[in-house]
């Protein structure tokens, strides 16, 4: 081979010597890749196979499932994070996000607390057909809804609705267990008093722990109900929590709650950066979105053909992801709320509706990628997975 000119550069010989010497001292061991791989898996596993150690009936329509690992090590998480449950129900392979309701200072188990959703596929299955000793597959802990010590105020004002209590349960338990220097005020809205999840526990903690205040708010209260009734308003927040300049707001609940409560909080003059909002799945009824094209009826069926794959039929008002799963095409998904981008697909032809504030990368939008968990067909589609 022809000699390279660099072989005549000053210093070449000594570098060459250095390299020869390093070959002699080079490790004789195999590449130590497995250790790092294993370590990363302990922190961020793709999948965890867990067993149901206990099932706790919280309300007539809600159960807590206590999940343990067979080898006794669960990855750490931050209070407020969720798991994505991977499951097959009625022949449909799908996933559902559930917040961890147990506290992160103990990871002998993860609790998830599941509320029955009317006509819901997975919640119905979990509440009726799953028993102690059964196995469940979940993702590692996910999500960005947690107290961030770098920027959040130690005065936390939390607003929960329905099953949206679960991430707060984890936060409250952690604060109490670890005696963290945080003050937490919880407004917990439910339609009926019977719906309140964790009511006894929350009452008990607030009786014994000065820095936790618990205000259940019942929308449709009976005549003799003693507590707060109606909705969670700016006035109520002000009355209970006082001036809230030095507070960070955390919200978790159904879309209707955000629609009502966010303007109330803004009314209090709270800047955007002080308001954290958890995801809550796709919009309940996409046809009510202000941008929805009125001429498309909700039941209209479109055909969706997957490039180099099968063709399925998809109703307008169902998330594309859901229709794909029903047709046996299963793109990966985690948040099912438009945020994590796992379910990203490319639309090769045809049009979909995607709510305006869906966080899609700019260049993804430019090249026709959508988050299929919050995209709805408006025409026949061809897609690339």
């Amino acid at each position: 081979m022809k000699k390279g000119i660099w072989e005549d550069f000053d210093g070449y010989d000594s570098i060459n010597e250095e390299i020869k010497a390093s070959h002699i001292t080079a490790s004789k061991r195999a590449f130590e890749l497995d250790f790092a791989d294993q370590y990363i898996k302990r922190l961020h596993p793709d999948r965890l196979a867990l067993k149901i150690a206990d099932i706790i009936q919280e309300t007539p329509t809600t159960k807590t499932f206590r999940l343990v690992s067979e080898d006794n090590e669960l990855p750490p998480f931050q209070a407020g994070q969720y798991l994505s449950l991977l499951i097959e129900v009625q022949g449909i392979r799908t996933s559902r996000p559930y917040s961890i309701s147990s506290q992160p200072n103990q990871i002998g188990y993860y609790d998830i607390t599941v509320k029955q959703v009317k006509n819901g596929l997975v919640s119905t299955f979990l509440l009726n057909h799953v028993n102690i000793g059964d196995s469940l597959t979940v993702s590692g802990p996910q999500g960005n809804f947690y107290f961030n010590p770098l920027v959040h105020d130690e005065n936390m004002i939390c607003i929960a609705g329905g099953s949206g209590i679960t991430p707060f349960m984890s936060m409250i338990r952690e604060i109490v267990d670890r005696g963290l220097p945080r003050t937490l005020t919880l407004f917990y809205g439910n339609r009926y008093a019977d719906d309140i999840i964790f009511h006894e526990q929350l009452t008990h903690i607030s009786d014994h722990f000065e820095r936790f205040r618990y205000i259940p708010v019942i929308e449709k209260a009976s005549q003799d109900y003693q507590g707060q009734c109606g909705l969670i308003t700016a006035d109520l927040i002000k009355e209970v929590a006082g001036a809230s300049e030095k507070a960070t707001f955390f919200l978790c609940g159904p879309q209707g709650m955000y629609d009502f409560c966010l303007p109330q909080i803004e009314h209090l003059g709270i800047p955007r950066k002080k308001i954290r909002k958890e995801l809550y799945g796709p919009p309940l009824d996409i046809c009510k979105d202000p941008g929805w094209p009125k001429e498309i009826e909700r039941d209209r069926l479109f055909s969706v053909s997957v490039k180099n794959g099968q063709t399925i039929s998809a109703p307008a008002a169902s998330p594309l992801l859901v229709s794909l799963e029903k047709g046996g095409v299963v793109p990966p998904s985690i948040c099912r709320s438009g945020e994590c981008s796992m379910c990203r697909v490319k639309i090769l032809s045809g049009k979909v509706f995607q709510p305006a504030d869906t966080p899609v990368r700019k260049s993804d939008s430019q090249y026709g990628y959508v988050h299929s968990c919050v995209s709805y067909p408006l025409e026949d589609l061809e897609i690339l997975l």
């Binding site: 390279g4 000119i5 660099w6 005549d8 550069f9 000053d10 210093g11 070449y12 570098i15 060459n16 250095e18 390299i19 390093s22 070959h23 001292t25 080079a26 490790s27 195999a30 590449f31 890749l33 250790f35 790092a36 370590y39 990363i40 302990r42 922190l43 961020h44 990855p75 750490p76 931050q78 990871i107 960005n144 961030n148 010590p149 770098l150 920027v151 800047p271 955007r272 950066k273 990966p332 945020e339 981008s341 796992m342 990203r344 966080p359 899609v360 990368r361 700019k362 260049s363 993804d364 430019q366 090249y367 990628y369 690339l384 997975l385």
Partner: protein, 502 residues
Amino acid sequence: MAKYDAIVIGAGNGGLTASTALAQKGLNVLLLERHNIPGGCATSFCRGRFEFEIALHQLSGLGTTEMPGPLRMDLDSLGVMQDLEFVEISDLYSVQNPDGFHITLKPNKEQILDELKNAFPHEKEAIDGFFDLVYQYANDMIGAFIFRDPEASREKYPNLYRYAFKPAQSVIDDFFTDPLLKAVLSVYWGYLGVSTDQMAFAYLAMILFQYIVFKPFHVKGGSQALSNTILNKFLSHGGTVRFNCSAERILTEGGTVQGVVTGQGDVVRSDYIVSNASPMVTYGQLIGEEQIPEKTITEVKSRQLSTSAFTMFVGFDCNPEDIGIHESTNFLMVNTDMTINNHDRMRRLDIDDELMVLSCYDVSDPEFSPEGACQTNIVTLKYGEPWLRLPPQQYLDVKYRCAEKMLQRVQAIYPDIRAHIEEIEVGTPLTHMRYLGHPLGAIYGFEQQTKNSLFFQPGRFTPIKGLYFAGCWTGDGGFEPTLRSGMAAARSITKQIDNKNV
């Protein structure tokens, strides 16, 4: 059984350009990517109303239409230039320290000289001399290597022969006495990851020269736009991409590539494979060490891995100038020692007085973040190894502790930032291990010492017939080198195929 003309493993910068260049030649190419988006380092993620850039600080080698750099020529030949919009960054960099020292260099030689002489009048002549040497060196380098002068000699290119392998620090020490000035001129070591006494002058000279001549750039839409655009070109040439699909094994027979077993369990045949993964993973996990000549394995094992990084992505609810950010690229400095002494701190978990770079894309591209908002990407280099020794239970505490220290360091320069933070996310060396699959989260591949430079290492070539590397492990890290490395791998393969066909 599926068969492709070539399979590319990994859709990082190198994998993307390799696969696209091959598809452009009419080859039937399969691109496998473990994650759900293309780009590797060259990606972004969304938080709230922000889309955060992961890796790109200043794109080098692009140049202008009048003065095209090597990267522009490569992107042009891929046919993607018209789909991309680049933003010229108006400054080379600023250097600031908590004592109030603040200097801003523009990417223009005359302005740099003026600015430096103004700040360091006692080093006037040395400043001229140093930049003369940088330019002479670069011209030698271009003559000998870019134009491939067949008659290159010491007489023709004296500076090249004399300075290429000389440690940068010793050249700097020969010229200057002021430690602050020395440090100001050395900060780009951060883009290479090796201290100035371990780094060849060739690197420092070329990085300064390149950024001054070809200017630093940013991409509209961030590096994800670059990745998506290249992938789109790949698809338009009929390429097949599979996301969420890793390569589990590379099949070889008699030292020749046969195909790949994917994470989905299927076997795909091909005579050519480009690996965008590290040699450690490619040889150790995908092929199996026993199939590789011992010489190659020893050679790989003798090389150190580069540093990883601790990164903070911050979205602010105000414009850059509201928090005192006026330049795109800001090196925050406490300690002027850029040698191995300082470098050793990178092997510790905690952040102390390390050099940091804070990039704010919105300064050059006000549309980068939503209106009335801006974002910064703050990085300090840290090796990955200490992070692997942390009990997983302590990981979050340590991550927040380091991030808090980093914020304090930034606050010492920009006091008002904390009150304006709307979103914040932290990436550690473990984050890089997880998302890039690089051993120890090494962001630049092998340690960029002279002995690991292309002059001394096999680069894209392997002892397995049909297998090539692309990406930072073939030579230099960074966007320009890795994008170009994929082009080179593709050239090697098309050459092989052409030879076969004659």
